[in-house]
Symmetry: C3
């Protein structure tokens, strides 16, 4: 498979078809993830009222469930939105922000994974390791330790939940339990900003709206996301000027960039 | 009327009198709209607790009600704040974000329009068309189609609700049902960022705090807002560097810029 | 005491130990304060669900309680988190945003001050004056007038509440009621952006996580915060380019900058 050419074509499809990406997400990253959605070419919407999430989800191309600042009514809305998504065949991307840091977060993830059919879980190594039952430590929303290497951890959770798992880090690992793909794009500057993990989840959702295979959607999304960071890095004088350059680069990312710079490889 | 000179004088009045603009708004744009308020020279405040919105509204020069991420208690707070505003003669600016996308949003707008006396509705063409009963389609928060041309749609809703309606787009249309004014300022970059519609609503509110005529307040606000975007455009390398330049330009906007660049004309 | 050398060493300690700073804060500044936490070298987390705030607070190095967009359940969460912090000896930094603007805000502050042992109150002159019982006026979140000079106002509240009080302004005043320290770093650009007061509170919290004396922690935090603003100012063409430069400067701030530019002095 020519990953770069295919990833570039998916990005073009997002830009021409402008799928709606519905977010029930945390209050830290709402603005950032809405902008990332737009810069990739998709349309963002945020809604969390139980009165409307089913209707809003029904017209979306993908649904993001992000537990970063969860509370009772928002979780209720996630379940309602998620059931609509499942009924309509709309992919759900779950971001288990801070799973393992508190019981409430871990239990909410398990509840969502039990009641809904999730397409992709996108998290850091600690979060995924804890959800996989392999142990690990998450301090706040930061991965501190895990019960194994990323490839094994991703595979374990993917097999357990029968979904695709994307662990972002120095190298991103995507696995559906059988097939595993690695993405080597990205830049250290991403770690100096809040919400870049959540934003990568949004990218996975935008690509999932136009690509049925969740491994392919995740890999191409994370390649484009990471590549934009690489393109932006030379303009950075610090995290904020990096952020400006990164968002500009996401918007300006083109086929040539991707064909030259994408670094996806099949692991198994 | 010399619109440019008058608009420039209103901006100076905002900067010298620093009116308080109270927002009950969505969680995506809180930070952006607070900054836009400040950069124009007014003072922003955000509060949504039913326990305090009446008291906070009572000291404000204008009230923004924005339904972008509404929920039950926030709507309740909007009604309470709105009644105080009406009692005190404080203008209310309604942003019907996503009206038409879900029944809950459409019905909430109708409820607010019924229970409160609204000064200005600022929305996109699809949202306004749906509220006017002319049909149309809104996907998430994006206008897809409408039941007529912007001038007719604005007039229809203005007459129906006995208020001023501002539809922003390539050309902005402001109508109170009798008098219609067009603003030709603005830039395509505004469409690449989340929350610029909401921010234009905030600008209308800041101008409404110092100008009693809602058509004049809206037109001058949208002229200044659009003009800052034009001034910023040459510095843009993408949406994020545009945003930086745009906010800088709002803050730096001066009488000479407005006298040279404002493009308001009476349509009827 | 060599304030500059000591302040620089505290910043190094934050960067090497990466303390977790738990925020229950307003929806306007969540993204900004998370980034400021990261740029200083600490780890931010935001959580407000009553189900998890105790557990999240228990692993934090400091707790920020910011009432900028308070509501019933968030106040309840603040009390629960605060009690855990007190039990564990974790410093609480209170930001009384808009105290005095509404009764609800003033009463909530008094409740938090009564039920919890607060380490530092960081506010503007009007807010602190009102909490001290000295009168004053706060319009929205802006200090309009106060019942005395900053030094006296800070001392009064510090003695009354048996805590440290930091009033930020042209010159920052920090007092525990006995000892008073002044910080002369900062820049006028900070007043053109929303949330810079809240962000300075976050800085105080990050320093409080690594320094037990609240006067020292506050003074060194506000010195670093203000110094980054001074370093950024020459790059500003307006508030937004200032913000970018300021965040970059916070991240890049080093020992030499602090030794050359810090301006703390003991007042009494």
């Amino acid at each position: 498979m020519n990953w770069n050419a295919y990833g570039a074509s998916l990005l073009e499809t997002i830009r021409s078809s402008k799928p709606l990406v519905h977010h029930i997400t945390n209050v830290v990253v709402t603005n950032d993830t809405a902008n990332v959605t737009l810069h990739l070419g998709a349309l963002p919407v945020m809604a969390h009222a139980v009165e409307e999430v089913a209707e809003m989800t029904a017209i979306a191309g993908a649904l993001v469930l992000n537990i970063g600042t969860l509370s009772k009514h928002w979780v209720e809305a996630m379940v309602i939105a998620g059931k609509t998504a499942n009924d309509k065949g709309i992919p759900i991307i779950l971001d288990p922000v801070g799973a393992g840091a508190t019981q409430y977060r871990t239990e909410t993830c398990h509840r969502l994974l039990e009641e809904l059919s999730i397409s992709v879980i996108r998290g850091n190594l600690g979060e995924v390791s804890i959800l996989a039952g392999l142990g690990g430590e998450v301090r706040g929303v930061e991965s501190v330790s895990a019960g194994g290497e990323a490839v094994d951890v991703a595979k374990t959770l993917a097999q357990k939940q029968n979904c695709t798992v994307s662990i972002t880090g120095k190298e991103d690992v995507i696995s559906d339990g059988t097939r595993t793909v690695l993405v080597d794009n990205g830049h250290q500057w991403l770690t100096t900003l809040t919400g870049t993990g959540c934003s990568s989840t949004t990218a996975v959702a935008a690509f999932s709206a136009v690509e049925k295979d969740p491994v392919t959607a995740s890999a191409c999304a994370l390649m484009c996301f990471g590549l934009a960071a690489e393109i932006a890095a030379p303009r950075a004088k610090g995290p904020a000027s990096f952020k400006t350059a990164f968002y500009d680069a996401l918007y300006n990312l083109n086929t040539r960039d991707i064909e030259q710079g994408g670094r996806i490889r099949e692991f198994s």
